[in-house]
């Protein structure tokens, strides 16, 4: 019997230490597995448990899959203690992902906070593979401290292709860049905010203030794409954990345009 709750095995091929609290795991699925950017997977450790993650890799690379994971809970702590060649389980992909077709020909402002840059990296890699299709791509990224800045090497590489500005909430001695919340670098761009789209991913509080700022700047609610984080368990619209208003984040999201959410109370809690 085909079983929707069954995981399939994947081997951890490599582990990259990104920051003191974040690691990237390069997985090789044992059977065909593909996803579109912005969709999520359920990653499990046999006998221990399962949690949702959005891959951070290029969906066009079919043989491997990368997830960037912050150590925040029981399962992620166990994941962080793993070494290469261990077998984990994956299920999915689930949810809607980013609607790349709708982005074509438009200006795209991507705003990330903390580990929220991980799903956005997958989006960026998708965009890079056909960059001419998009009018303009900008990235604004904020991390807590310079040490917490994710994908540091990649950020400078990306800045050769697109307009990238980063900031940190708190600087240290060696740091020379912008200091302040990510909302403070949402300015000085020459894009037509009435027509542009924005894609936002980060901790709830960052998403909240970024969205309000974007509205202030003149972005239309239907052009603001938010990756919502809820307690997802089944990923299939069955277990009931991820409800927000009339939606299940796992199947109606995780990507929502703000116009769908703005009338639902307490969406940022």
């Amino acid at each position: 019997m085909y079983n929707i709750y069954q995981a399939q095995p994947a081997i951890i091929e490599d582990i990259i230490e990104e920051t003191p609290t974040i690691k990237s795991f390069i997985l090789r699925p044992q059977r065909d597995f593909s996803f579109s950017t912005g969709q999520f997977i359920e990653l499990s450790l046999p006998g221990i448990g399962e949690a949702p993650f959005t891959p951070s890799s290029d969906p066009n690379k079919k043989d491997k899959l990368e997830v960037t994971i912050m150590n925040v809970g029981r399962l992620t702590q166990q994941l962080h203690s793993l070494s290469k060649n261990v077998r984990v389980g994956i299920r999915g992909p689930y949810g809607n992902g980013y609607p790349l077709e709708e982005f074509k020909g438009r200006e795209i402002l991507i705003v990330g906070g903390g580990v929220g840059l991980a799903p956005l990296r997958s989006l960026l890699l998708s965009l890079f593979s056909e960059l001419k299709q998009y009018k303009k791509v900008l990235l604004r990224y904020g991390a807590r401290t310079p040490k917490d800045t994710l994908y540091r090497n990649l950020l400078s590489e990306w800045s050769k292709k697109i307009d990238v500005i980063t900031t940190v909430d708190t600087a240290d001695k060696e740091y020379k860049g912008n200091v302040g919340l990510v909302t403070t670098i949402l300015k000085d761009f020459s894009i037509d905010v009435k027509k542009a789209v924005s894609v936002v991913c980060g901790p709830p509080i960052m998403m909240k203030f970024t969205t309000l700022k974007l509205i202030d700047l003149g972005f239309k609610p239907e052009n603001i794409y938010l990756s919502m984080e809820k307690n997802m368990s089944c990923g299939l619209g069955k277990c009931g954990h991820c409800r927000i208003g009339k939606y299940y984040v796992c199947k109606d999201g995780p990507v929502f345009t703000y116009d769908k959410l703005e009338n639902i109370p307490d969406i940022w809690d």
């Binding site: 995981a7 299939l236 954990h241």
Partner: protein, 348 residues
């Protein structure tokens, strides 16, 4: 035209006894003024239940705790083909709850394999209500105390036996296979059934009116409009977060997936969950949109009267009153709906 038969009480009992050769047969047994489903074993006496049983019907299809994958890496789920089951004694509220459970488990982006398999393998024989409990309020939700659809067979007590209405192909097959226990119903018997039904509706209607429960048509808007009301805080004060209201509810369906280790296997389990538990909505990073009890109580109402109305076109409450009886804190859904209607600006 509906197909209605008559089965004399003794024939009906013999029919159930014979069914046992091919099915697991569950019938309600009287227990301190309540009815509990039990597997039918001779010499169990069949007594027609005048109102719904204690257990929610979902428990026949979706177990409190069960293995949903033998091992996360084994592709196939090892379920022995369950013996077909016949459940006797559902009421119309129970049948309505199956619409909700079917929507969750059989529809949507994927089909739940265990639920669907059991659903296929279970025959439901419902019955008219011939009485009701103090907590019953189905009529307020526009659900009648006798079924019109959704059953395989439906029983209506008449003198010395039952009228048996066919509601599905499977029900028709069953009557066909056991013809000797059934005979065509007489028009006069059907008239008796109709007048009993009308009588009970009138009685129940008076009962509901006394309780002053708001009409089904305004439930969604009063729950929405009461979002910021203090009443959630007031009503949740005595809640001990036991989850009984969810577990006993025939429409609640939330579950948790958990992995365990048994020797060298890693079975995956599914366990009923309750939105009244503090960690229900907590994410790994620590954020918890349902941190407070008042938020969780409100969540139960939003899910039932807002989410399901938007997604399924009906509320996920059938007025069975099980949650009222199960709650150790005496939190009463009827009272909350009534108070919501009072604070809501819409005229009721």
């Amino acid at each position: 035209m509906s197909e209605i038969y008559y089965s004399q009480a003794a024939s009906w009992k013999n029919f159930l006894t014979e069914l046992r050769q091919s099915f697991r047969v569950y019938v309600p047994q009287k227990n301190n003024g309540d009815y509990l489903y039990q597997e039918y074993r001779d010499p169990v006496n069949f007594s027609f239940n005048s109102y719904r049983a204690v257990q929610p019907v979902k428990s026949f299809l979706f177990y409190t705790k069960e293995i949903i994958a033998e091992d996360i890496f084994t592709r196939d789920l090892n379920t022995e083909e369950p013996r077909p089951t016949v459940v006797v004694g559902l009421k119309n509220c129970d049948l309505h709850s199956l619409k909700v459970q079917d929507f969750v488990f059989k529809e949507g982006i994927e089909v739940d394999p265990l639920y669907s398999q059991r659903r296929e393998n279970t025959i439901f024989i419902s019955g008219d209500c011939s009485g009701f409990k103090e907590v019953c309020f189905c009529l307020a939700l526009e659900i009648y105390p006798h079924p019109k659809e959704g059953f395989d067979l439906n029983l209506s007590p008449v003198s010395d036996g039952y009228l048996v209405e066919v509601g599905s192909e499977r029900g028709r097959d069953l009557v066909g296979r056991y013809q000797k226990f059934f005979q065509p119903a007489k028009q006069t018997q059907i008239e008796v059934r109709e007048s009993k039904r009308r009588g009970l509706i009138e009685e129940l209607d008076r009962h509901i009116k006394e309780k002053d429960i708001p009409k089904r048509t305004i439930l969604q808007s009063i729950v929405r409009q009461g979002y910021s009301s203090d009443l959630w805080k007031n009503f949740c004060l005595s809640c001990v977060e036991c989850g009984a209201c969810n577990f006993i509810c025939c429409t609640c369906h939330c579950f948790l997936i958990g992995d365990t280790q048994i020797k060298d296997r890693n079975p995956r389990l599914r366990v009923w969950d309750s939105c009244q538990y503090a960690n229900f909505a907590r994410v790994a990073g620590g954020a918890n949109p349902l941190k407070r009890r008042a938020q969780r109580l409100r969540n139960r109402f939003l899910k039932k009267f807002d989410f399901f109305v938007d997604n399924l076109g009906m509320p996920a409450c059938e007025g069975c009153g099980r949650c009222i009886e199960a709650c150790p804190a005496r939190i009463d859904i009827r009272e909350i709906l009534r108070e919501l209607a009072k604070v809501s600006p819409i005229p009721t």
